[in-house]
Symmetry: C2
Subunit: 215 residues, 2 copies
Amino acid sequence: MARTKNPAARSLLIERAAQMLRSREPVTLRSLVAGTGVSTMAVYTYFGGMDGVWKAVRQEGFSRLAVRLATVTVSADAVRDLTALGSAYLSNALDNPDLYRVMFDATFDLEDSHAADQSLHHLVRAAERARDSGRFRGDVDPLELATQSWTIGHGLASLVATGPLPRQMLAHGVPLLTALFVSAGDDPGRCRSSVEQGWNLPSSPPCDDAPGEKA
Amino acid sequence: MARTKNPAARSLLIERAAQMLRSREPVTLRSLVAGTGVSTMAVYTYFGGMDGVWKAVRQEGFSRLAVRLATVTVSADAVRDLTALGSAYLSNALDNPDLYRVMFDATFDLEDSHAADQSLHHLVRAAERARDSGRFRGDVDPLELATQSWTIGHGLASLVATGPLPRQMLAHGVPLLTALFVSAGDDPGRCRSSVEQGWNLPSSPPCDDAPGEKA
DNA sequence: TGGAAACCATAGCATCGCTATATATTGTGG
DNA sequence: CCACAATATATAGCGATGCTATGGTTTCCA
């Protein structure tokens, strides 16, 4: 398999799978290739089977998450940035709920772990900056705090995107993150201000009512 | 084969499905009834199809969770009780990871929501007692605080039981819950003590190294 | 005891992921 | 420029899936 395998068909199928996921159509081997001009065998040359398709879709999900997190710019207020990263994480999960579900329902392999670590690293760096700028205590481990922020973000995303909680429950992110950051040493008043700023920073704030969305 | 009108077959199949889930065997219509003496049609008379089987399995999961939560006895220290409920939630999820996954991967229907609400109510009552006993501020909404505790518990359970985090990351539950309860008004020192007591209370503490379990 | 209702076994259908084989396409050495 | 080898695609089919139709068996109750 040395030759250049048509990379256009690969991303076409991944995009189509993501779109079918969003429109709630079942993604099967035959329905995936239907209408695209490629045959079922192409799936096996490109992905090695449906498992490979799901793997690629997961990576697409992580890729979109990485893009979202990258839109959060670094400011002088690291607590604000940390909150903005959490908010971006949630808005990404809510904009791609089925993709988010696929990302976390299969067992993680090494590539997934790498992608997840890369995303987590955004949070780690922000936590480190918050500590080094004096907002958090010196004994705060940035990785631990980032993991705890991730736990809050994933818990909310999971319960709201694929679970029983309604969308407005995302607003719990504000008090939860505030409590965590205050426990890390931040001043309560200052923390509240930073969190509220960061929460509403991303392009599509996850807590505000979406345009035209009805409960 | 002969036959008794057999309500026992229902719970037999549910139990078998849960066991197959635990042993990682694929649960299919034919494999589910294989060796049990009941035929494939029985699945349709009892459950109406495989969807009904999964629904029943989800209910079984919620039922086991309810049993776990019920083992947490009420004490004078409501913060300890609240933590113990979270700890019991996590130990249940870790003892039945596949069941836990099934509980939260399908879309919730009314029965599931009822079961979840019932479990959540345990937390709500404990939060209410913590507030009324003066540990939390008077303006704390027990339902909100219970939901936030649930978010932490579900986030940890999901990331550890079916996700990328190793088991020892469950220990993050202690600082997360402490931060939340302190933000609700509890005294930091007292809160830490209560949380540590409650965390190690359930029969199988989720953070301790399991017996004979190797990383 | 007889009839009605509930229950179950068998066979078969459409579809699923996947594979084997044959054909078309592509890249490369002479 | 052509013949050949390697790769990609297309077709057909296999085992297995969930599900349904149909007819036979068992159970219950009047």
